[in-house]
């Protein structure tokens, strides 16, 4: 037992008072009409390269919106926490932010988080969420009614690649190389089935353990299969360059492709010699793209004169679609609830994103099934369009 002196009581009282004040202040200080966009953002950890870009993209778009007077006259406030790309930290960030702010929009950092938080989203019913995950599983409006993704899901990305391949070479032989993660495995099953219906043959599926350094044995398997096209999924950079280099040395004539998160121009450039001819699917125009009308890209280039990554564009586009959903909800005189926001989002039809997507988009469900094939031009050191925009029918 300790003796309670006056000093103890006073200091305890002061501490309690300070705690209360700190706890209460954010809610009290919050402007009554502000719309809050919360975010579990991976600024450190394995996904930090993307998280940093996403963070900047969201901030830049909100700056544009707020400078122009906000969404229906209401400013949008961005509150983010670093998660280290760990689900438990993401959930903690969500709880912290939602307890301090009246959050209407939320950016989540991973498939794991999106799945974990879904029951809580539905219980609250006040938030529309999107994020860094393009998991096929999340593209189900019945199971995930308050979520969406700002592009095609991973299976749809494969769908776009496979349609392109079927056009280029009927009956082509394919190999899928993917990481043994939720991210990596996501599109493999459905894409195998789709390949069959398109008359393509999947001759090899190679799984690599996450974080594996040396892929020589996997390349040996690839050589035996002799595919015409090899699609990588579930990676950012490593081990793609080493795979391609070794495969080329063995005289393999395959073409190599990737999906969104391995399509950043500066990342592909880092592949060195292996980069030449590397292809993949991208839902957005690249930062430097000057073809056609893209006033939004112009604005980005004015705000940031140096190259911005695809992750930046992803954050930017996600914030744009969220704000558009909020705008439509408020314009219809409805309250900002999760369901109303989602209905607002789903009312987006043939919508021009300022040229960020190359074609007008519609969001009938949880994804935006649009993309284009780009290929790396070694001379220009840039990803260049290799196909028209491909729209998958829902």
């Amino acid at each position: 037992m300790r003796d309670w002196t006056r000093r103890h009581v006073l200091s305890a009282g002061a501490a309690m008072g300070a705690g209360l004040a700190l706890g209460i202040r954010p809610l009290a200080a919050q402007g009554a009409d502000e719309i809050v966009l919360g975010g579990s953002i991976p600024l450190t950890g394995v996904f930090a390269f993307a998280g940093i870009g996403i963070h900047a993209g969201i901030q830049d778009y909100l700056k544009i919106v707020n400078d122009a007077g906000g969404v229906e006259g209401r400013k949008v406030k961005y509150v983010a926490e670093d998660t280290g790309y760990k689900v438990d930290a993401s959930v903690a960030a969500f709880n912290k932010i939602t307890s301090q702010e009246k959050v209407s929009l939320y950016y989540g950092d991973s498939t794991g988080f999106s799945k974990t938080i879904n029951p809580e989203l539905e219980r609250r019913g006040s938030i529309l969420m999107a994020g860094a995950s393009f998991a096929s599983e999340l593209n189900d409006p019945k199971k995930y009614p308050l979520q969406f993704m700002a592009g095609p899901d991973y299976s749809e990305m494969f769908g776009i690649l496979l349609r392109y391949i079927a056009n280029e070479k009927a009956g082509a032989k394919l190999a899928f190389v993917y990481s043994d993660t939720e991210f990596g495995r996501d599109p493999i099953g459905p894409s195998e089935a789709l390949a069959k219906t398109l008359g393509l043959e999947v001759v090899e599926k190679i799984v690599t353990p996450p974080g594996s350094v040396d892929v020589s044995t996997e390349v040996l398997k690839l050589r035996r299969a002799r595919p015409d096209f090899t699609i990588f999924h579930g990676y950012v950079l490593a081990p793609i360059p080493e795979f391609i280099t070794q495969a080329k040395q063995m005289g393999l004539a395959s073409r190599f492709m990737g999906t969104f998160w391995s399509m950043d121009n500066s990342t592909v450039e880092r592949m060195g010699e292996a980069a030449d001819g590397f292809m993949g699917v991208m839902p957005y125009r690249y930062y430097y793209d000057t073809e056609g009308e893209s006033p939004m890209l112009e604005k980005i280039r004015q705000m940031r004169p140096e190259y911005q990554s695809t992750a930046y564009l992803q954050g930017f586009v996600t914030a744009l679609l969220m704000c558009e959903a909020a705008k439509r909800t408020l314009a219809a005189g409805k309250e900002l609830t999760g369901a109303n926001l989602k209905a607002g989002l789903n009312s987006i039809k043939d919508f021009d994103t300022g040229g960020l997507f190359g074609v007008p988009i519609s969001i009938p469900g949880n994804s935006v099934p649009v993309g284009r094939i780009y290929a790396f031009d070694g001379k220009a050191k840039q990803m260049k369009p290799a196909s028209d925009w491909i729209r998958l029918e829902a």
């Binding site: 974080g211 950012v236 063995m250």
Partner: protein, 293 residues
């Protein structure tokens, strides 16, 4: 379906990745042998070596043969500072405390690298010859082959050095009995320091090899964890154990990856770990008194 040429190629590729395990394993063993500390930050020091090489070769445009020693020296310097600043004051504390310090050190190094070089995965400038190598008709990826050669030279040098050099004998004496080593005039604190300096230098050098093959990123330190398995299998205080354990795990993983699929690689590795821990808790070549945490 399965032909001998293919099996040989898989075997050689396995030896290649095993050699990377072995050379990193040497760093674990050196520190453990001298100081009885399991240094979990070895993976991050390896990463730091990769980045130091990158900084010297791509940032300062030094040729590879200068950048490599720079990376090794950077690792050695970190080893010296860490030993004097963090580990020596912990002398006499429980092994768990020291273990935790090395875990913390790992996060600090990963954070430092991210602040200096950013979070993007990077590629090291090409410095190994890129002409494909054929042993008979079997193809070996050039980087893997040169990595293997370099790793073998280093590991062999350490196995011989420990046996025949004065420093090696001093280290073995310290490992066997610190008090007795003191009494015959061996400067035990200096042995501690040197073991950290040399081990961290080796880890940094290994980081350059690993980075040349798989690229560098602030998270490449996880490679250290795979190597921890190797040294536990081989015996935490045995150089030969690191060599044999590394090559063995490398080859087993290669065959598991080829015939069972990549998702079974780690399953097989960790099954071997459990088996070894049950049958020989001190590893294949370790001495019996290794402390279990």
């Amino acid at each position: 379906m399965t032909d001998w040429l293919f099996l040989t190629e898989v075997f050689l590729a396995g030896l290649g990745s095993g050699a990377l395990y072995a050379v990193t394993g040497v760093a674990f063993v050196l520190i453990y042998k001298a100081t009885r500390v399991v240094n979990l930050a070895i993976g991050e020091i390896l990463m730091l070596g990769g980045y130091a090489f990158f900084g010297a070769a791509a940032g300062w445009h030094l040729p590879a043969w200068v950048a490599l020693p720079v990376a090794i020296l950077a690792g050695a310097l970190v080893g010296a500072v860490v030993e004097r600043g963090l580990i020596r004051p912990m002398l006499g504390e429980s092994p768990i405390s020291v273990f935790m310090v090395t875990i913390g050190l790992g996060s600090i190094l990963a954070g430092f690298v991210q602040i200096v070089w950013g979070a993007d995965p990077l590629r090291l400038p090409e410095f190994l010859p890129s002409a494909p190598i054929f042993i008979g008709e079997a193809y070996v990826a050039p980087k893997v082959a040169y990595g293997f050669l370099a790793a073998m030279v280093v590991v062999t040098a350490f196995v011989l050095g420990l046996r025949f050099s004065r420093g090696g004998v001093a280290l073995k004496a310290t490992a066997a009995d610190q008090a007795a080593a003191y009494s015959v005039g061996i400067d035990v604190p200096r042995v501690f320091s040197l073991s950290w300096i040399v081990a961290c230098g080796v880890a940094a050098g290994a980081g350059v090899l690993v980075g040349a093959i798989g690229g560098i990123s602030p998270t490449m330190g996880v490679f250290g964890l795979s190597v921890l398995v190797v040294v536990i299998v081989g015996g935490l205080d045995s150089m030969a154990g690191a060599l044999v354990g590394g090559l063995f795990i490398g080859v087993v993983e290669a065959f598991a990856g080829t015939f069972l699929g990549g998702e079974y690689r780690f399953l097989v590795t960790f099954s071997i770990l459990i088996l070894i821990l049950m049958v020989r808790p001190y590893g294949l070549f370790g001495t019996h008194e290794i402390e279990r945490l």
